[in-house]
């Protein structure tokens, strides 16, 4: 039989694609373009000055550094949590599964206030951690706690279906071929999960970078030490310096885009490496 151009099973490509473009254009592309346009209003020199002043640079370090750390922590613990929820049967499993979504739904300001009252020196958890020398609120550690909180569901929800699809028989085969447990984990399970872990990492990282509401309550907002970049942007806005605010926003957008692109490439690579091995 002669093969013709593959016909799409589901009709309506033109319509759906057009709608997608309109939708994305109105909600994402045009607003983003607006930000670029607005920031262009201050000229190259001011743009550079606004985005590289010492306080702003310090805030990038805080924002990017702690977001990366929080996403990394989430990647590890989120993976464990997803594994437990999918693979094991225990009382309260459904409840815990539902609990995971809470950081999605909770207004971030509420999360920030709750975390601060728990982790401040006078709070339940703070009263345990402070004597140990851990300042869990009004510090970088506090920011880390808040960012871990908001990012956690991204990793778990990304990994759950992948773990559920993982064939237990492959692990059994590895074991029956004499692979010790650790080797099975490292050579069989881990490569299969890595792409999803990276996706979860990227999502949690992106979410953490943009987080404002919960962080400002727990961070203490000290210039150079615990100021996140979104707060710097708000500071410019409050000073009626819209162009400066958008300049910093553009800088941040570009950096995040490059970072996320990197994660994407890494993920492609790990997928194809996994496929090649299999």
């Amino acid at each position: 039989m002669k093969t013709t151009a593959p016909r799409r099973v589901i009709p309506g490509f033109g319509l759906t694609f057009g709608l997608t473009l309109t939708y994305l254009g109105l909600l994402v592309l045009i607003p983003l373009a607006g930000i670029f346009l607005k920031s262009a209003g201050i000229g190259w020199q001011d743009f550079w000055a606004a985005t590289t002043s010492r306080q702003v640079v310090a805030s990038y370090r805080v924002s990017f550094g702690i977001s990366l750390a929080a996403a990394a922590a989430n990647m590890v613990f989120g993976c464990l949590a997803a594994w437990s929820i999918v693979r094991y049967r225990f009382p309260g499993r459904k409840f815990i599964d539902a609990l995971v979504d809470l950081p999605f739904a909770l207004p971030t300001a509420v999360a920030g206030i709750a975390l601060t009252s728990l982790y401040a020196r006078t709070g339940w958890l703070g009263s345990i951690f402070y004597p140990l020398g851990l300042e869990t609120a009004y510090s970088r550690l506090g920011i880390f706690i808040a960012l871990t909180f908001v990012g956690l569901p991204f990793v778990i929800r990304t990994l759950q279906p992948v773990i559920a699809d993982l064939d237990i028989e492959i692990e059994e085969a590895a074991a029956s071929l004499g692979a010790p447990r650790f080797q099975t984990l490292w050579r069989v399970v881990f490569p299969a999960l890595l792409p999803a872990m990276l996706t979860g990492f990227a999502l949690a990282f992106a979410r953490a970078l943009g987080e404002y509401g919960s962080v400002i309550f727990i961070s203490g907002n000290m210039p150079l030490r615990t100021e996140i970049t979104p707060l710097v942007i708000v500071k410019f806005l409050e000073q009626h310096q819209v162009e400066h605010a958008t300049a910093v926003a553009v800088f941040m957008l570009v950096c995040s885009f490059v970072l996320l692109l990197g994660v994407n490439i890494l993920q492609r690579w790990s997928e194809s490496a996994g496929a090649a091995r299999a």
């Binding site: 606004a50 002043s53 010492r54 306080q55 206030i113 601060t116 009252s117 401040a120 020196r121 006078t122 709070g123 609120a137 009004y138 400002i216 309550f217 203490g220 907002n221 000290m222 210039p223 150079l224 707060l231 708000v234 500071k235 806005l237 409050e238 000073q239 009626h240 310096q241 400066h244």
Partner: protein, 340 residues
Amino acid sequence: MKKKKVRSAAFILTSILIACLVSGCGPRERADIELLNISYDPTREFYLEFNRAFAEHWREKTGQSVIIRQSHGGSSRQARYVIDGAPADVVTLALAYDIDAIAREGLIDPDWQRRLPFNSAPYHSTLAFLVRRGNPAGIKDWGDLAREDVSVITPNPKTSGVARWNYLAAWGWAAREFDDDEDLVRDYITRFYRNVPVLDTGARGASTTFMERGIGDVLVNWENELLLALRRRGDDFEIVIPSVSIRAEPTVSLVDRNVDRRGSREAARAYLEFLYSDFAQELAGRHFFRPSDPRFLDKHRDRYPQIEMFTVDEKFGGWEPATEKHFRDGGLFDRIYLAR
């Protein structure tokens, strides 16, 4: 999986429904005139009561029904909304500078502050200290806030209107104390802010940090905010009035371009003038603002002790130069931290 999708769709639909009910997508009240008052945070309760009284007053006078909608938030952000096109008929904000910002965009007559008595500030307030019961840190005046053993809670001047007042009040005190020797004043301000462990973004946040989290020996905040706090938790805290403080004047204005477009100028003007009526002055006094009409201020002397006050115009030549010198990027406030 499918069940989950159905469930989340149901969840989204219910959320939208609830949002509609709460925000009033449904049938709306009808009125002859609608006014929008864009205000800042601590005035919520005051205007709730004031609006009801004004609606009654306006009906008696003209026979028209009027609905006043109010919006509250951080003062400079509220100003931003108006600049970006929020259809406010009147603005009642924390500082004249924010209204100036709207005026610069051509929405308000540049001469707005002279249109109403008392610099267009029908009520005013000042800054005072809140300390823990018994004043264990012995805080008496601005000088104590720079002591090495004291921890001070005040929000960030970059994000909070009240924090700018705090900073300027401390500066004003120091300028007098040190005979305008700028080096000494700057040294004082630097030591003051080194005592601040947390820079909240707003006045309420700072109150929470001090009162609920137990951080700091002293909170610098609006007198009205402190009196409100005292009403709730009077057993745990007390107010200390410094020797001198700043006269904080929340100002009000018509938004000329909006009232002309909407044809609401007459009602909006009456609304603002009603703020100076005996009723409103008394009401402001009850809501912890110092009435600008001296007759009503004297009546509430037990609540509002006499205090020497200076204004931003007297000490700093207005908000524009004060902002330029202290709060701009790389200004004196930034340098406190950059110098470390």
